[in-house]
């Protein structure tokens, strides 16, 4: 419960601080506190989960009108009305999340806009319930027979802002926070880590709605009244402005945005009615010039500062080293050294591993698999087996069906016919399929041709994504960081560090991976795949974009991983660099036109006439030879 204690402590301190302000400023800063809470919610939604919603004022309105209406009409005490309003908002937010599942970015914006407008209509026509166009005054709230004074509400606003900041910070650092960012960056790859978009999107909306509603409750009592005009499109744009200017995706940004934008007009007297114009111009300015907002500027300044302070500096950054040498080292030598670093021993062509003739050593079997994409047969009668613990290459010209085969295995494409078996038991078939989110749980991990490494997350956090389904931590438990979650987290981080070291990652594991070189990103992705100790590793063109020696080192590194693994690790390698595959694989399957031509030892496959023909292009060999 440590996080909760920190949150409560922060809230208490903030409340105490608020009493030091004179009354007018108390109100103004309390209002900023309310806006901070809303901004936190919007950052969870937009910054973390990447969902655009224009309906945040609506949820604020639900909170505000919720308390005012229920207390006025039904005489509910504050302690019942407030949680009820927040719970209602949570529920409706969750519903909105289910709709968002299938909508592309801008369409979601349009739908939430509609929701906002529709709610305003409901408020205006709510007659008795909502007091219509002109709104209602907030009743006197009591806490066990004590009237809550306006100053107290100001304290509550401060406390809420501080507490919520801590909790949201905790949430974004937790397992769910990482999952949100992964989903925002590449939903498909995230699914392969076991991340389920439905749960994540609904929870993002729900959390954001609850925060906005809580803010709305406090707002109603701070203002003393509610009216429909307070929850319209302009407020929506204001709130977007706060998070963009503050810096999207960061808790600091949620605090800076409202704080700076609300105090600036105060300082620049005479803005008066030009306030909205000022906001909009600032927003546009930030979007064009500094898209990461104020928090982005602070983190760049911090990075700049670190470079100047000798305690933190890195020799590569020191101004005393001639720039040319620095650049040379950074651009040429370091990457080469880094990619060779996966090898701690001489590269040599391995002796072929003994190939088992009995079926029980098969890790993976394709059995007459057929997949149809929109009327076209992509693969048909595809049959081959991969031996346990082996490095198995899958080659074939463009359109041969290699990607489709992987898609069939990983639940992206449905089988029309045939079976795929893993360790002898049925895994994928036309009747029974394993979803892509279940892959990691079943011991299958994969990498992608263009490495998927979430830029906002560090190498360590990216690796932790691989353990998503194996550790605990939901929205609430993750935020509160309860003991079980903390323990899982600690063990997971240990394992992640270990795995990163095993794949030869040499960089800073805590730094965001945004600027890293291709070789490093590939290692991080490999670590993410390996950290869950999979049985079967699917690699999609892992040497793409690498030069020859780096490519060799990579494949050799993979073999060493297999050799040093505690349990047998089977690798299925889809590659276009055929000589490399022949040099290092135990066995190779060559595909063409949707089926397997041959599976066997590399030399066998290389000499097979049909394989050669598939690369040369059919009967033209004869014609060409005749003319030549």
């Amino acid at each position: 419960m440590r996080r909760l204690s920190i949150a409560l402590l922060a809230a208490a301190i903030a409340a105490a601080v608020s009493t030091q302000f004179p009354p007018y400023q108390q109100y103004a800063t309390a209002r900023i506190g309310v806006l901070i809470v809303v901004a936190l919610g919007m950052n969870v939604l937009a910054g973390n989960a990447g969902l655009l919603s224009l309906a945040s004022p609506t949820f604020m309105g639900l909170g505000a009108y919720g308390v005012v209406t229920s207390m006025t009409l039904w005489n509910l005490p504050l302690l019942v009305a407030a949680p009820a309003a927040v719970a209602l908002a949570w529920g409706i937010g969750w519903l909105l999340g289910t709709i968002s599942l299938r909508l592309s970015g801008f369409y979601l914006g349009i739908v939430t806009l509609g929701f906002l407008l529709a709610f305003q209509v409901v408020l205006q026509r709510g007659g008795k319930i909502t007091s219509g166009y002109y709104g209602a005054t907030a009743p006197q709230a009591t806490f066990f027979n004590y009237d809550i004074a306006p100053e107290t509400w100001a304290m509550i606003a401060f406390a809420l802002a501080a507490g919520a900041s801590v909790l949201v910070w905790s949430l974004t650092r937790s397992r769910i926070g990482r999952a949100w960012r992964a989903m925002k960056y590449n939903e498909l790859a995230a699914e392969f880590c076991g991340i389920r978009p439905l749960y994540l999107k609904t929870s993002a909306f729900a959390v954001s709605a609850a925060l906005a509603a809580a803010a709305g409750v406090v707002y109603a009592f701070l203002q003393g009244a509610v009216s429909p005009q307070q929850f319209g499109i302009n407020n929506s744009i204001d709130q977007l402005t706060y998070i963009i200017v503050g810096g999207i995706g960061s808790v600091l940004g949620s605090i800076l945005g409202p704080a700076v934008l609300e105090t600036a007009p105060e300082l620049l007297r005479g803005l008066g009615e030009k306030r909205q114009l000022f906001f909009a111009v600032t927003l546009l300015f930030v979007l064009v010039v500094a898209p990461k907002g104020l928090s982005g500027l602070t983190s760049s300044s911090w990075a700049w500062l670190r470079r100047r302070l000798p305690a933190f500096s890195d020799p590569l950054e020191s101004p005393r080293v001639p720039r040319l040498v620095r650049r040379l080292f950074r651009d040429e030598i370091a990457p080469a050294a880094a990619s060779l670093a996966t090898v701690s021993g001489p590269i040599r062509r391995p002796d072929p591993r003994p190939v088992s003739t009995t079926g029980t050593m098969e890790e993976l079997t394709f059995d007459h698999v057929r997949v149809v994409y929109g009327g076209l047969v992509a693969i048909d009668q595809l049959t081959f087996s991969v031996a346990r613990g082996s490095l198995h290459g899958l080659i074939g010209p463009n359109g041969a069906g290699k990607t489709t085969a992987i898609n069939a295995l990983t639940g992206v494409a449905r089988l029309a016919h045939g079976w795929i078996r893993v360790e002898g038991t049925e895994f994928q078939s036309p009747q029974h399929g394993v979803a892509r989110t279940a892959m990691v749980g079943r011991g299958i991990a994969r990498t992608f041709q263009t490495p998927v490494a979430v830029p906002d997350l560090s190498a360590l956090e990216n690796t932790l994504l691989g353990l998503h389904t194996l550790i605990r931590g939901g929205v609430v438990t993750g935020t509160l960081d309860i003991r079980r979650v903390r323990q899982d987290d600690r063990r997971a981080r240990e394992r992640a560090r270990e795995t990163l070291a095993r794949v030869g990652f040499m960089g800073d594991v805590e730094a965001p991976v945004a600027g890293f070189a291709l070789g490093e990103l590939r290692k991080i992705e490999l670590a993410r795949a390996l950290v869950s100790r999979p049985r079967l590793l699917l690699l999609d063109e892992p040497t793409s974009g690498l030069e020859s020696h780096a490519a060799m080192a990579t494949i050799n590194g993979l073999r060493r991983l297999q050799e040093t693994a505690e349990e047998p690790l089977t690798i299925l390698l889809v590659e276009h660099n055929v000589p490399l595959v022949f040099a290092f694989s135990d066995r190779v399957t060559a595909m063409d036109r949707g089926t397997a031509i041959i599976t066997g030892l590399p030399d066998e496959v290389r000499r097979d006439p049909e394989v050669r023909r598939s690369y040369l292009g059919s009967e033209m060999i004869e014609v060409g030879a005749a003319r030549a």
Partner: protein
């Protein structure tokens, strides 16, 4: 009843022109312009200014067209140059910012006061349409809406430059490889989008008067109309608008009330998304796979 439908068609034609503007921009540039409503407002104010200098109808139209061209160019420059390489979310929010800037700039210059304007071209006259008497504005709206749609469709199908714009909308790389200057085509798309929407402003002004947020209030309906049309077809957008206009008209006759129209549009949108996300009249699917 017929009067209701005709009235609904007239409103719908305006939504349709707005939707056409949205579709023109989104097809070519991929940008969803949340400030599209402001093109209506600028058109309305251009009309207002032209009236104040006692211009003849042709010159009034010219004012509106020029305003559209200018606005389109500003947005083109902002999105293609200032925001070059930005992801769609950022550009979308930028259009929201531009929307507020335009509204507030107009507010500062003209204040929030609603300024009524006479209907364009024929003034306050009544026209006889097959036994029914309609205002001349309604007549002008319907004629303009249909001519604009037909003209635009023909432009895309039969002119070289229209086909070049279609090419850019289909695949920018292929268009560049064919020697097309992609940026000019994008500029033309923005300008066309702004001009057609500006025309809607000219037609809307006599109905609701001219004031800074006149466009913002119909923006959502334009989006719904474009959705009905599937977001990729010009005739579809107009049909979507007409459908929405008639539906609105019939509903408010039953239940009454101006702002209910917004709720109705939202309901229609939700229904559409649940039942037929590709739109009633178009082909593109907007769902994520």
């Amino acid at each position: 009843m017929v009067g209701l439908i005709v009235g609904g068609l007239a409103n719908g034609a305006i939504y349709g022109l707005l939707a056409i503007g949205v579709v023109l921009v989104i097809r070519a540039t991929g940008v969803v312009n949340f400030a599209q409503g402001e093109f209506i407002t600028l058109g309305g104010f251009a009309y207002l200014i032209s009236i104040s200098i006692h211009a003849n109808p042709l010159l009034q139209l010219a004012f509106v067209l020029v305003a559209g061209v200018a606005a389109g160019l500003v947005f083109f420059v902002t999105t293609e140059y200032l925001l070059k390489g930005a992801d769609h979310l950022r550009i979308l929010i930028a259009t929201l910012a531009l929307s507020i800037i335009v509204i507030n700039a107009l507010r500062l210059i003209f204040t929030d006061v609603s300024q009524p304007t006479p209907p364009w071209l024929f003034g306050e006259r009544a026209v006889n349409l097959g036994g029914n008497v309609v205002s001349s504005n309604t007549f002008v709206i319907l004629v303009t809406g249909l001519t604009a749609t037909a003209g635009l469709y023909a432009w895309f199908q039969f002119t070289d430059i229209g086909r070049a714009v279609r090419a850019v909308a289909e695949n920018r790389q292929f268009a560049a490889l064919s020697g097309i200057n992609v940026r000019w085509m994008l500029a033309i798309s923005w300008i066309a989008g702004a001009v057609f929407t500006g025309l809607a402003g000219l037609l809307l002004a006599p109905v609701v008067s001219v004031y800074p947020t006149m466009g913002q209030t119909v923006l959502f309906k334009g989006f719904v109309a474009a959705s009905l049309g599937g977001f990729d077809s010009i005739p579809g957008a107009m049909l979507g608008g007409l459908t929405l206009g008639v539906a609105e008209s019939l509903l408010t006759a039953q239940v009454g009330g101006g702002d209910l129209k917004d709720a109705l549009s939202f309901a229609i949108l939700l229904l559409l998304l649940l039942v037929r996300p590709s739109g009633l009249f178009g082909r593109r699917v907007l769902r994520r796979a």
